[in-house]
Structure formats: structure tokens, C-alpha cells
Amino acid sequence: MRKIRVLVACGGGIATSTFAAEEIKKIAKDIDIPIDIIKHPLADVQAIGKEFDVCFVTSKYSREIGCEVISVGGLITGLDEEGAIRKIKDALSRANDRVNHQG
């Protein structure tokens, strides 16, 4: 069983992503999935995406980066926060299945 490597990205990898990362940590704890969370500027994502199991971004993002990308803007704005939390739970579970339950 290894931890899920989670990338959280916003513009500078500082403010908004910290906000999101704190929430994602709580959600992961709730559903009991161990994660390693790292924050980065969005501009870095393309170069380092492949090192992660799942990537959460606070904006929309449509590029291929080598891992699943999930937009979680709702976490920041509070608009459809429930939807965003559900998406995060699903994505973490999927990543966990891929990493820890394969074969």
C-alpha cells in the first residue's frame, strides 16, 4: 500500500492551491486514503504531471499531462462545493484503486 501522489496546482502554486490542498487533505482523511500532496504553479504541471497519480487544478485545464486532471474551482468559490468534493472523493478512490488494488 503506497500513498497516492497528489498534485495541486494554481497560478503561482501558493495561494489558491494551498487553500485547495488543505481541503483535499481533509477529504482524503475522511475517506481514509493516504496521500502525499504537493503544490505547484500551473505552468509546471506539464513538465511534472507524469510523476503524480492525480492532479487537481483550481481552474479549467484541458492539456494532457500524464495523469488524470480534475478541476476543483468549486472548492475555492463555494459554488457547487458539494459537487467539487464528490469529484475529489471519486478521483482519489479511482487513483487508489489504480495504485493499490491492481491485480
Binding site: S17, A43, S59, Y61, S62, T77, G78
Partner: protein, 429 residues
């Protein structure tokens, strides 16, 4: 008056670095986050301050050989200003005592203005209140230097910051329909001070292009460029290369060149880590506060949630243009009269390119020309404002002397520029 003056002076002397942790703790308790959790948040903010202090010192000392080279030329040319970016400027703003006065006042003011239906924007992005705080604290120091009494200067600073806050709320109201439509972000708007010059320039450039026959039909594709540079990758690698380039230009010895480059890259890696400590401490409080105000307001109001540009940074055109804007930004730095070499700026280009899609409607050519114009504007203003930014950083205790000038992108915002002009009129600098 005497009493107020001495209280203000006392607070200024101790600095927000000590006060803000206390205030964060108190605010946490007020919003029922629990005493020990609130205290932990407060202390994280304190740790963030000290951390930023260390990293900034490292950055300024690290680049010293380059600055020294230009100083020794003695003709004022070259790069004599260290770019500490919005990261550095935000830290400076948050460590002034203005932060603790302005944040709660701005929150309450926003609530009242929503209640009075004067605005539809609810600025929940408390972190970015630093943009208005910085203008207010700059005004305070400018007025204090001009000999205005401490208490009056302080009040002027607070009122100025709140005035700026209101202007930005109205601006966010105005931009909201277009923002929601283009970026597909219903129910939100963007309320950062910097968007005023970003979109102001963006708007003008796009209007001009539309008027010129031929130019309005240009279609361009730069994806090959971003694909190539995307592999170059992380900001740390890029900063290292920038360090090498600067070292070569300023004829450093190989050992100096390597030490400059590694130090710059290290500062760029460390800065987000320490600044996010501030943010970690701040976010539970700002979250609780915005929930509180939202619930008090009720369902009866049409509200746009105000955030910074973070929400729009996924813009395809914007991401594509970052790659090509990196070398262009470095070339722009060599225009005559620009004394700040972009270091932190390079990492924040994505804010500019993604925002510039708004009036370009995602068109690459219009976005590119807008982004170039924005960077030129910013480079000149940041250079010009360096003495004011340095004075603020010095007063806030982030740097030990004004011998090395610092500046950052925030100084290009209208509220800072206006204070700069006031300072010129008062002959303070």
C-alpha cells in the same frame, strides 16, 4: 491625538509579524474555530513571515554580484533592482499593521455594500486583500515622510485602502458578464487590482488591432514553441538558466555565476513554500468569515463570488503563450530605462497571458500583442516604483537597508502608481 499617535507608533514598531499571528488567533476564536486550532493558524502565519524574511534576504544577497556589477558602472544603467515579485510584495503588505485593520473593515464594508445593493461582488479572496493593503501602507509612509502626523497619515492610509477596495468591487461588477461568459465561470467574477491594468491594456490593444486592416485578420499558432519550452519545465530550472544568462552578461567568474544561479533557483523553490505557510494560517479564517457573511446575507441577493485570476488560468491560449512570453519578457528588460530584470515575473507570466484572452477572445495574435504591451507597461512601472517599494520593504523589516532596490509586479497597480505620483508631488522621493 497624542495617545493615538503613540499607539500607532507602538504597533508600527512591533510590526504585523508579531501582531498578525495574534489577530489570526483572535479571529479564529471569534469564528468558532477553537482556540488551539486558531493559535496553530496564527503561528503558521508567524512562521511564514520569518521564512519569507530569510528567503528574501537570500534572494537579495544571492543576486548581489550582478547588482554590484551594474552599480560599479556608475551611470545608473543596467539592472539595479531585484524583482521580488508579488510574492515578496504580498509578504511586505501582510506584515504591516494595516493588514489587521483593513481586513476586517474591508469585509464589513463589502457586506454593507452588498446589503445596500451597491455592488454584486462578494470578495471572498481575503489573501488578495494585500493588493489594497499595500497601497494604503505606501500612502502612510509617504505621508509620514512628508511630515504628516502619524495618526492622520495612518487614517489616510486606511481610508485610501478601503476606497481602492470599493473601486475594485465596482470594476468586478462591470467585468463580471464578460468574465463569466468567456471563461465559462457562472456566479463568479474577478476582483484583483491588477486586472484593471491587465484588462485595460488588453481592451485598448484589441480595439486597435480590430481597426487596422490586415492586422485584424492575422492568425497565428505558437503551440510548437510552448511544446518545446514546456519540456524545459519547471520554474526552478528556468530561473537557474536566467541566473546563468545574467551572470554571463555581467561577466561573473564561473564560481560566482554558479552560486548566483543556484541561489536564485533555490529562492524560487523556497518562496512558495514559505508564502503558503501564511496562506495555510489565513485560509481557515477567511473561509469561516466568508461563510458567515454569506449566511447573514440570505438568499435574497444576487451575488458574484469574487476571486483572483486563479480561476481563469486554465485558458488554452494563455497557457500556450507562456512559453513564448518568457524570452520576450527577458528581451523587454533590455529596453532603455528598465532597471529590474524579471525573475519572479517570469513565474507569474501565466496570470498575464490567461487574463489577456478575455478581450482577445482567445485569439493568439491579439493575446500575444496585449501580453507584450502589459509586460512593457509593468516593467517600466516596476522599475520606476522601486524606491517606494524598497522603502516599504525596509519599514516592514523585510530588508535591512535600502542599498539594494527591490520591486515587484504589484507596484504597477493603479493604487500604488497613484501613491507614487503623490509622493513625487510632495517631493518625498
Amino acid at each position: 491625538m497624542e495617545v493615538i499617535d503613540s499607539i500607532v507608533q507602538f504597533v508600527m514598531d512591533i510590526g504585523g509579524g508579531v501582531f498578525l499571528p495574534i489577530i489570526i488567533t483572535v479571529m479564529g476564536v471569534v469564528f468558532k474555530l477553537g482556540f488551539f486550532d486558531s493559535m496553530r493558524n496564527g503561528l503558521r502565519v508567524g512562521a511564514g513571515f520569518l521564512g519569507i524574511n530569510i528567503v528574501l534576504t537570500m534572494l537579495v544577497e544571492g543576486i548581489q554580484p550582478v547588482i554590484n556589477y551594474y552599480s560599479s558602472l556608475g551611470d545608473g544603467s543596467g539592472f539595479t533592482v531585484v524583482d521580488i515579485g508579488w510574492e515578496g510584495m504580498s509578504a511586505v503588505a501582510w506584515s504591516t499593521s494595516f493588514a489587521l485593520v483593513i481586513v476586517p473593515l474591508a469585509m464589513i464594508l463589502n457586506y454593507l455594500l452588498l446589503k445596500a445593493r451597491f455592488t454584486k461582488t462578494m470578495d471572498i479572496d481575503v489573501w488578495n486583500y494585500f493588493h489594497v493593503i499595500i497601497g494604503g501602507s505606501m500612502l502612510y509612509y509617504i505621508l509620514a515622510l512628508a511630515g504628516v502626523k502619524t495618526g492622520i497619515a495612518y487614517a489616510a492610509g486606511v481610508i485610501y485602502a478601503l476606497g481602492t477596495f470599493v473601486v475594485v468591487l465596482k470594476w468586478a461588477d462591470w467585468i463580471a458578464p464578460r468574465w463569466q461568459k468567456y471563461y465559462d465561470l457562472p456566479g463568479t467574477t474577478c476582483c484583483n487590482n491588477d486586472t484593471i491594468y491587465l484588462w485595460g491594456i488588453n481592451f485598448v490593444i484589441c480595439k486597435i488591432i480590430e481597426k487596422i486592416p490586415g492586422l485584424n485578420k492575422v492568425n497565428m499558432n505558437v503551440s510548437w514553441f510552448s511544446d518545446k519550452l514546456g519540456a524545459l519545465g519547471e520554474s526552478s530550472v528556468l530561473t537557474f538558466l536566467v541566473g546563468l544568462i545574467l551572470s554571463v552578461i555581467t561577466r561573473q567568474s564561473p564560481s560566482n555565476a554558479l552560486s548566483v544561479s543556484v541561489t536564485l533557483a533555490a529562492a524560487v523553490i523556497l518562496m512558495p513554500k514559505v508564502v503558503s505557510l501564511l496562506m495555510e494560517g489565513l485560509s481557515p479564517v477567511s473561509r469561516a468569515a466568508s461563510k458567515y457573511f454569506k449566511s447573514r446575507l440570505g438568499e435574497d441577493y444576487e451575488i458574484n463570488i469574487g476571486m483572483d485570476e486563479a480561476l481563469c488560468l486554465g485558458d488554452e491560449t494563455g497557457i500556450e503563450l507562456v512559453g513564448i512570453m518568457i524570452p520576450i519578457t527577458m528581451i523587454i528588460a533590455f529596453l532603455p530605462g528598465i532597471s529590474m530584470f524579471p525573475i519572479a515575473t517570469l513565474g507569474s507570466l501565466i496570470y498575464i497571458t490567461c487574463a489577456a484572452s478575455l478581450f482577445a477572445n482567445g485569439d493568439v495574435f491579439r493575446n500575444l500583442l496585449s501580453s507584450i504591451a502589459i509586460v512593457i507597461y509593468k516593467s517600466y512601472i516596476n522599475s520606476w516604483m522601486a524606491p517606494v517599494a524598497t522603502m516599504l520593504a525596509l519599514q516592514a523589516g523585510y530588508i535591512d537597508s535600502a542599498a539594494t532596490l527591490v520591486s515587484g509586479s504589484t507596484t504597477a497597480e493603479f493604487n500604488c502608481v497613484l501613491v507614487g505620483l503623490i509622493g513625487k508631488v510632495l517631493h518625498v522621493w
